[in-house]
């Protein structure tokens, strides 16, 4: 009897702590499948963020470092410079990457640092309980924008992929979404391509993954997928923003 | 060579620190204990710069000179600042081209040199520091001329040795001034 489904070898056999319906689990699995397919699990060092994915170091079978909040691209830079022939990736949320770690993100990209960044954008701070993120949408209700994000007072969301694609350093930037099976399949292709860019020493690659947070959005998992599709994708259009050889 | 506490002071860009380094280097080669301490900060060009060179038989304690034996002064602000700190019986060497006043102290030896004028006659005002070093050697007998000549050769990159010859020429001119 042939197996139709199994845990990727690059994923640890441990229960994850993520909320029901959260898309972190999907994103983790995609990365692990890509590591399996590229055969790089033993060559890879991952860097976990601060945020909901803080325990990512317990979930991937590859070597892992846990970084301070926002500093993952700097930590990854340190690692990569020491072991340039290994594969180094960071896994970061929107608060980590686009607020407290903006400088580290922008400059790692500008340097063309040969690392891969997986950027989970779910438009909210999950771990601390649903505060406004740099990527929260205009009008979005959160614990710290209880009357809806008022752009006059709280400013506008940051479109990281568009912003970074203006730089010469990055080799590949794509925004994908986890709201449907076709989009999830596309997301995996993008992640694989990002890792391949690094293997080919093309420089900085980033995949922005639009994701859900049912718990802090106050929606069911199914409603969350719909909210992502109806609200986030229009503001954060999917597609390849940069692809150079 | 004598043990000396030397302050060299002037504008940034006059080669104050390099002149000090030559003395420190020559003393090191001669087996003395030495330290060289620059003022530092936004004074690459134009601001005041000085350096403290301690030459001693004993290991150097404080590298900061409060009362120098010798003051080599290459501008008016540095003479104003350091004149009174020189020890009784000490020496002040003054670039007469740039400093429009006399030393007021009567308990120190003073040597006035037209350092910048001599340097310009040699083709480059930036050689004034070397002229001052030459005048200082003559006045104090702190080093013999060859020790500093050697220091100049050793402290200028091999690719720029033509400059060493010019520096030595300027120093000798100061020595004979």
């Amino acid at each position: 009897m042939s197996k139709l489904y199994e845990r990727p070898k690059s994923l640890c056999d441990v229960p994850m702590h993520y909320c029901p319906g959260c898309t972190h689990g999907i994103a983790h699995r995609l990365i692990a499948e890509v590591m399996d397919e590229l055969g790089i699990e033993g060559e890879t060092v991952g860097v976990a963020p601060v945020g909901c994915a803080v325990f990512a170091y317990d979930y991937f079978e590859c070597d892992m470092q846990e970084a301070a909040h926002g500093r993952a691209p700097a930590v990854a830079t340190g690692i990569k410079r020491v072991i340039p022939d290994r594969i180094v990736f960071t896994y970061q949320g929107d608060g980590d990457l686009a607020a407290i770690g903006t400088a580290e993100t922008v400059h790692a990209a500008a340097r063309g640092e040969n690392i891969t960044v997986i950027f989970i954008n779910n438009a909210i701070y999950g771990m601390t309980g649903g505060q406004m993120a740099p990527t929260s949408l205009p009008g979005q209700f959160t614990q710290t924008s209880p009357y809806g994000r008022d752009v006059k007072k709280q400013g506008y969301p940051v479109r990281i992929s568009e912003m970074l694609s203006t730089l010469d350093g990055p080799s590949y930037i794509e925004r994908v979404s986890l709201d449907s099976v076709p989009n999830i399949n596309n997301a995996k292709k993008a992640i694989k391509k990002a890792f391949q860019k690094q293997i080919d020493k093309k420089g900085f690659s980033l995949v922005e993954v639009l994701s859900t947070c049912p718990t802090n959005w106050g929606l069911s998992p199914v409603e969350s997928m719909k909210w992502l599709k109806d609200n986030m994708i229009p503001y954060y259009p999917l597609g390849v923003f940069k692809d150079v050889d | 060579m004598k043990s000396e506490n030397i302050i060299i002071a002037g504008f940034g860009g006059q080669g104050i620190l390099f002149a000090g380094k030559l003395l420190a280097y020559a003393a090191m080669v001669a087996g003395k204990e030495i330290s060289w301490l620059p003022s530092y900060g936004p004074e690459m060009r134009g601001g005041t710069a000085n350096c403290h060179v301690v030459i001693s038989e004993e290991p150097v304690g404080s590298p900061i000179i409060v009362n120098p034996d010798v003051l080599i002064s290459m501008n008016r602000p540095s003479l104003d600042k350091f004149e009174n700190s020189v020890i009784e019986g000490g020496t002040i060497v003054v670039d007469k081209s740039l400093i429009d006043r006399k030393v007021t102290r009567t308990d120190v030896r003073v040597k006035y040199v037209e350092a910048t004028k001599i340097a310009m006659e040699l083709g480059n005002a930036a050689l004034a520091n070397m002229v001052m070093v030459g005048a200082f050697l003559k006045e104090t007998g702190a080093f013999i001329l060859d020790e500093i000549k050697d220091a100049i050769v050793k402290n200028i990159p091999k690719t720029k040795q033509a400059l060493a010859e010019i520096d030595i020429k300027a120093m000798v001119a100061g020595y004979n001034a």
Partner: protein, 356 residues
């Protein structure tokens, strides 16, 4: 014996680090330590090393974290305001038990302060700077030659104990030139680092460099385990230099630049018949408390001389523990005390004219 060269303290640190096998330097420009970065920028590419100018001190120290976690001998350097920014990363490096060398060429503070030499970061260096229960091993050289030897030792100590080691200098030491020798005597050891994250090669369980423990008991356990390491450092690594201590009635104490000035002052005092002696801590943490304790058996008074408003004096008071009066003299903000001021202070103490 190799030839003596005339070198700035900052450059000597950089050259010594390279001799010790450091091939990774991450930094950010700040006066008065920039020569370290400039030297590294020039040398590293020629020897297959990495010099990277980071976008901030915050980023630089986190690059150090990553590189140390990948098993490298790595260094960063800065001066006071930059060291405050590094505080976050230093706490994480301490918490993850990563070895690295951090150089602080201190200038006056607080805030932007000034650019002239100071010793006002003693508390930051020895008592924390970042958050949490941790220590840095803090080495305080007082000459350019010692900047060389202690830099080399710093890398060995860091690897031996898996601890961040700080080299605490100041603007004077960083900027001054003195003759130095780079001998082959203190060639560094090579330490195995099986904990490093360099890829599992599918031959072992994954290594994790981490500072997060959600269970209080687990976190407490790691801290207590680290404390054992600290205890062993206190047992084995204290360094201190004393002079004229045997018959000293007045024990002056200073580290770094101010110890040089104290040396000149004590020579003067001895000439004038005062029985003055010196304790110069070379490790500021661990602090050589036992030396002070012993000196307190015969000393009439202690005097801490610092380029601050009085920081190390607190550790001296703890060590002396009320056995003798502990006085303080300091200048700060970039002002350097003079030997004459120190001599005068000792005379005041001897004459009963100084309050503690």
């Amino acid at each position: 014996m190799s030839e003596k060269v005339l070198m700035k303290g900052n450059e000597a640190i950089a050259e010594a680090a390279i001799l010790a096998g450091c091939r990774y330097f991450f930094g950010y420009p700040i006066t008065p330590q920039t020569e370290i970065a400039a030297y590294m920028a020039k040398k590293m590419p020629k020897i297959g090393g990495t010099f990277l100018q980071a976008e901030s001190e915050v980023s630089a120290i986190n690059m150090v974290y990553g590189a140390a976690g990948a098993g490298a001998r790595v260094m960063t350097s800065s001066s006071s305001p930059g060291m405050s920014l590094k505080g976050e990363g230093i706490s994480y490096i301490a918490g993850a038990d990563l070895p690295c060398v951090i150089v602080n060429i201190v200038r006056g503070g607080p805030g932007l302060g000034g650019i002239q030499p100071a010793q006002s970061d003693y508390f930051q260096a020895t008592k924390g700077g970042g958050h949490g229960d941790y220590h840095l091993l803090v080495l305080a050289p007082n000459s350019v030659q010692e900047m060389v030897s202690l830099t080399i030792d710093a890398f060995d100590l860091a690897d031996k104990y898996r601890i961040p080691v700080m080299l605490l200098g100041d603007g004077t030491l960083g900027q001054m030139m003195e003759p130095v020798e780079f001998s082959n005597d203190n060639i560094s050891h090579v330490y195995e680092k099986p904990w490093a994250t360099v890829g599992t090669q599918k031959k072992r369980k994954h290594n994790i460099i981490n500072t997060l423990y959600m269970s209080p008991e687990e976190l407490e356990y790691t801290i207590i385990e680290r404390q054992k390491k600290y205890n062993s450092i206190v047992q084995n690594e204290i360094r201190c230099e004393t002079s004229y201590l045997e018959d000293a009635e007045y024990v002056l104490s200073a580290y770094g630049t101010s110890s040089r000035i104290v040396e000149t002052a004590v020579h003067q005092l001895r000439k004038e018949g005062y029985k003055a002696g010196i304790i110069r801590p070379i490790t500021l943490w661990p602090f050589p408390s036992h030396i002070y304790k012993k000196a307190a058996e015969h000393a009439k008074a202690f005097l801490s001389v610092e380029m601050s408003m009085g920081q190390m004096v607190e550790d001296i008071m703890l060590a002396v523990n009320g056995k003798a009066p502990v006085h303080f003299f300091g200048r700060t903000g970039g002002v350097i005390p003079t030997p004459a001021e120190i001599v005068s202070k000792v005379k005041d103490i001897a004459g009963g004219n100084a309050s503690e």
